[in-house]
């Protein structure tokens, strides 16, 4: 279980990364934390010609407050750093407790998790629920994506092969916001069979699931029912869950309902 040969570059500047992406885009993989890429390399599932290590680029992992509110998280911020930061919303901290294990969280990055877009991963659905903005960078400049439209499907995002994720901007959510993250996984740290991220403000609600559909997204019908104080479960007909032998469609749909009800209880709604 050794990776197939690849070429390795570790540029020191963003410009150098972009030049490599321009030249090799689809044949290159960006190595940030490597906690998903490295196993895929070892299993020879990922077979890039070029691995671009972005760990040498200064400032790419910074977590800073945005002056007029909110927080800016560099793409290479490690999960453990995000978890420990007082600046990030509580939703992310509680979701990160479900992300793998301490040694993985010491190395894995927020940007990496979003770029991979594993349907069962916790961070993408948190981004949707938080209304985050995902900023990508290419030699053409920055592109700002709403998280809700960034995730296109299984391991598929709006990021183009010549782009890298640069940072994530999470809008200010005042003290009236309440959050809940809940998931069902076979073991602690396993990918979720189903998980829910819920953010509830005054007259506003956002929720997104992981593990249920191929990609997290906003669920307006369900959100409307919640805001109306109605039973939200009928809204979940808008879900089109994935189907597999070990987690069939009906099971994921059932869990989505269970977790949503629990999340609403946890934020004091219903």
């Amino acid at each position: 279980m050794k990776p197939a040969p690849f070429r390795y570059e570790r540029p020191a500047t963003l410009e150098a990364v972009l030049a490599l992406l321009d030249a090799h885009g689809a044949q290159a993989e960006i190595l940030a934390g490597g906690q998903s890429l490295m196993p895929m390399l070892a299993l020879r599932v990922a077979r890039p010609d070029l691995v671009i290590d972005i760990n040498r680029i200064a400032g790419l992992g910074d977590i800073t407050a945005i002056p007029d509110g909110g927080v800016r998280i560099g793409a290479r911020a490690r999960h453990a750093e995000v978890m420990a930061s007082p600046l990030v919303p509580a939703l992310m901290r509680s979701a990160l407790a479900h992300v793998a294990h301490p040694a993985i969280r010491n190395r894995g990055t927020l940007g990496g998790s979003l770029a991979l877009a594993d349907p069962a991963a916790e961070m993408p659905c948190c981004m949707v629920a938080l209304g985050a903005r995902i900023v990508t960078l290419s030699s053409r400049g920055e592109t700002h994506h709403d998280a809700a439209s960034f995730f296109h499907g299984l391991y598929s995002t709006a990021r183009r092969p010549d782009e890298m994720i640069l940072r994530i901007e999470i809008p200010p959510l005042g003290p009236q916001w309440r959050f809940a993250f809940l998931e069902e996984a076979r073991r602690l740290g396993d990918y979720a069979i189903a998980g829910v991220a819920l953010a509830m403000g005054a007259g506003e609600v956002r929720l997104a699931f992981c593990g249920v559909e191929p990609a997290p997204r906003c669920l307006p019908a369900t959100e409307a029912l919640i805001l109306a104080g109605a039973d939200p479960l009928p809204g979940l007909v808008e879900l089109a869950p994935m189907d597999s032998d070990d987690a069939p469609e009906a099971y994921r749909r059932h869990l989505a309902g269970v977790l949503l009800k629990r999340a609403l209880r946890e934020v004091g709604h219903g």
Binding site: M1, K2, P3, A4, P5, F6, R7, Y8, R10, L31, G34, Q35, M38, P39, L41, A42, L43, D49, V51, D53, N55, A80, A100, H101, P102, A103, I104, N106, R107, R187, L188, G189
Partner: protein, 162 residues
């Protein structure tokens, strides 16, 4: 495709090391094959079992999920160095006394992960210990004795430095 190599310099267990290595080699393979530090083990090579844990720049990482070339300039310490810290030594003594290992293949990774836990949380509960070690597979012990040993080390360390 060519088998690209790179030269790196790093500190391993307080020793300066220079080496030229294939870029596709993992850190744990380099430590074992290139440096001769065989205390870190390869149990799965795909990031699930934790037997390969090493400390890179102060944090515990999976040695199979980081390329050796990424350790260029880094400070690395392994189980062979654990006895130089009070927490590491206390854990090693407690694992021995409490029979918290059988085949011993997981023990290096387990001890390094437990050491990081005790550094962050000197008096963890049993549940906290179980959660912190939940990325380290032990097939032999059933974990109970490991949790006991971590608590034992924790108690002794807080006796020394209350």
């Amino acid at each position: 495709m060519d088998n690209q190599t790179l030269s790196i310099a790093c500190t391993i267990n307080d020793r300066a090391i220079r080496a030229t290595i294939p870029v596709r080699q993992s850190l744990v393979d380099f430590l074992r094959e290139g440096v001769g530090l065989t205390g870190s083990h390869v149990g799965c090579a795909h990031g699930v079992c934790g037997a390969c844990h090493v400390v890179v720049d102060g944090v515990v990482v999976r040695g199979c999920l980081i390329l050796a070339v990424q350790a260029d300039g880094a400070e690395i310490s392994t189980i062979e160095h654990a006895a130089t810290t009070s927490i590491g030594a206390a854990l090693q003594a407690a694992f021995f006394e409490r029979a918290a290992l059988q085949c011993g293949f997981c023990t290096s990774g387990m001890i390094l992960q437990a050491a990081e836990l005790l550094a962050q949380n000197p008096e963890p509960s049993r549940d906290e210990i179980r959660a912190a070690l939940s990325g380290n597979l032990c097939r032999c012990t059933g974990y109970h004795a490991i949790v006991d040993a971590v608590q034992m080390a924790s108690a002794r360390l807080s006796d020394i430095a209350p």
